[in-house]
């Protein structure tokens, strides 16, 4: 099986300071990988390098495209990369307002990616938007409401619908449950888990919440000061951490 994503020697520096360095991994279709680490550990920098939002200083991010097979997305042309960004890739931001058009209705938000890839039938676009609202548990009646009238949890679910409507194969998530109430988080996680399994999505989830990765991620990468200090099966890394930092991280979680 060809990996969906092959990450080789990714490095990003901010002047003399290391954003992330020497990051290597393969992600296979259907796999969900978590990246954990404290603030400033380089996990968001890495995610942005992988998703094409930041240009890494070194390394390759090879994606198995539908048409041409594995292609290094770092060196591909910008139009190609942006096309990936609205077809096979999706990016779920921590703050829904960064990922939504707040002045456009929920239906328009979901429909944008469809229209961007050439859908030109209003009725079909609207039907798909309503279908997706249902899948993220938002009433169809809210299709013409703007996201500003939605709760934080609903906005985040709308962002997810907007991202998944074109059937991407790889989803990048940056703290998808950050800033939400615990009960809202649980619902969102459950929803994400169902969607990931149902659609056979691969995902890379950056978070500092170990409960999130335990629930969603098959694999885990632990980052500290820009370096990957430990990687492996999620439950193995959390239950039998090998690196000093991971042990500290796991033991720092308050038991409920």
């Amino acid at each position: 099986m060809t990996p969906l994503l092959q990450v080789k020697g990714i490095e990003k520096r901010y002047g003399a300071r290391i954003g992330c360095t020497d990051v290597n991994f393969d992600l296979y279709p259907g796999e969900v990988m978590g990246i954990v680490g404290e603030s400033g550990s380089g996990k968001s920098t890495l995610l942005n390098c992988l998703a094409g939002h930041l240009e890494p200083d070194a390394g390759q991010v090879i994606f198995d495209t539908r048409v041409d097979g594995p292609v290094d997305t770092v060196t591909m042309s910008e139009p190609e990369r942006r096309m990936l960004g609205r077809t096979d890739w999706a990016f779920v931001h921590q703050h829904a307002r960064d990922g939504l058009r707040m002045s456009v209705s929920a239906g328009g938000n979901i429909g944008e990616r469809l229209m961007a890839v050439g859908d030109r039938h209003y009725g079909d676009i609207r039907d798909k938007a309503i279908d997706w609202l249902g899948r993220v548990e938002i009433e169809a009646a809210r299709v013409d409401d703007r996201p500003s009238a939605f709760s934080g949890g609903m906005q985040q679910r709308l962002q997810i619908a907007r991202n998944l409507v074109t059937g991407p194969r790889l989803v990048f998530m940056d703290e998808p449950t950050g800033g939400l109430d615990v009960s809202v988080q649980a619902r969102l996680l459950d929803l994400l888990r169902g969607l990931v399994r149902e659609m056979g999505l691969s995902a890379i989830i950056v978070t500092h919440d170990l409960a999130v990765v335990r629930l969603l991620a098959d694999r885990l990468m632990v980052m500290k000061s820009g370096h990957v200090v430990e990687a492996g099966l999620t439950d193995q890394v959390l239950d039998d951490p090998q690196h000093a930092y991971t042990q500290l991280l796991v033991s720092s979680v308050l038991q409920v």
Binding site: D190, R219, D235, Q236, D240, Q247
Partner: protein
Amino acid sequence: MGKDEAMIELIDVSKSFTLHNQGSAVIPVMQGASLKVEPGECVALTGASGTGKSTLMRVIYGNYLAASGQVLVGGLDVAKAEPRQILSLRRDTLGYVSQFLRVVPRVPTLEVVAEPLLAVGADKQIALDKAAGLLKRVNIPERLWTLSPTTFSGGEQQRVNIARGFAHEYPAMLLDEPTASLDAQNRETVLSLIEDAKHRGAAIVGIFHDIEARKRVCDREVNVSDFTPGLAA
């Protein structure tokens, strides 16, 4: 698989914990562990509390990382395998029934039980039917099936967990106290599930404090004290 058809085979496995944040103390918990379980065989792990029965089970499941040796399950060395290989092993080959249920909130009991079948690509209706049959067998009232098991009593959760563990017919199974604190009727059900699994050829490693149960379903006993550093001769 080896020529002797062992489904689960441990060869000279050791395990230690290094506590980096407590002066890097290294605590050896297991050494020289060797074990062989063939299809249709049930092996009981015995030994006093703290000798490492659960540790051994976790090493086999890939939850704990073996320090050395080979942990072969269905031909895959769990001690060295990639995460995705272990995940596919857990999905297709190696089942684990613990005493405690860990599920996502909001998923109905029926789907929790059917999930392992859906994961291996079973038809949804067939999976749900089988789940329903198992829930009946472990005496979970039908009115509870549409609810999430997170709200159930400890005993009910344990039985849901057992039903889930037996939904897919794994060729290898790990059972951690499957009959603990069950009433006579449910205990009987679980033992018959284990017997069925053996009958279809599952290789089973289990921890049973229930001596009667152990005698009934297990073919051999392995005393893990033999693998405990400092205890072994």
